[in-house]
Amino acid sequence: MTDFLAIVAVGIGTYLSRGIFILALANKRIPDPVLVALQFVAPAVLGALIVALLIDSDGNVAIGIPELSAFLVGGAVAYKTRSHIFTLIAGMGVFWLVRALI
């Protein structure tokens, strides 16, 4: 039940973020400083999330050689190919391979 309410809360928030200017603030502009800061939301949050998702239950960040190798190769493939599918295949492939080897 808590999970469902969390989903509904994010659903409402997401709808509002997509609709607020269309529905209510059509003649308002986003102030320039806010617009600048908004551009850095995605990289900052995603960077933080990558680390946060690897935190184990003791509060340690579980980044080992398999994860680091996967990030290096996955990052390079993303940069070169601009393809999420290739990035996913390369990253997970390296992750599994290195983990099996060490």
Binding site: A44, L46, G47, G74, G91
Partner: protein, 226 residues
Amino acid sequence: MSLDRSIIKQGIVDALPLFVPAVPFAFVIGLVIVESGISPFVGWSSSWIIYGGAAQLTLISLLGSGAAVAAAITAALVVNTRHLMYSAALAPVFQQQPRWMRWFGPYLLIDQQFALSMLRADDDPKAFRTYYLSSGLVFWTLWQITSAVGLVVGPVVPAAWNLEFAVSILFLGLIVMGIDRYPKLIAALVGAGVTYLTAGLPNRAGLLVGAFVGILAGTMAERLRE
């Protein structure tokens, strides 16, 4: 009528290739729902209640990893603040639309939908609406199906494969492909670094600290660049 039909067709033809990059996200959402222990139908309901890949992945992975519910919700909402830019950019176009469209349109406003509809901003209102609904409903339908496929495949995948790591790889891809100048790189690195340093904070609160300091660092780097 034939004009309508050709616009509808155009919307479908334009949407299909743009959905391809979203396939791994929708598929992994399905897989991660299974691993998170959230009931499958509740997890999948996020595909039509939230309908946003990064926010769904963030919320579900964090809930599954034992983060505090409030922290998970906040993180997912922060991820989605970029939509404010889309909403502001399309607001003038939507002023010529009927009320029901102004209410329904934003629900479909994912990244790809924004990219496509901005190219149609100067079309006449009816043509814009036909195109917007046509491409939007293609994205929406494929998203529901693909995430459901992940949900069905999920239980077959052995837990030892650690498929939840796929979320980190997908997010890394989003960062790398989104970097068009170095302040964004700084925002990502600082966000990750500060989260690492604050990993010991309870309930993954370090995530929000990291995100906030990352945004601040990116903004300052941008100011120095100018």
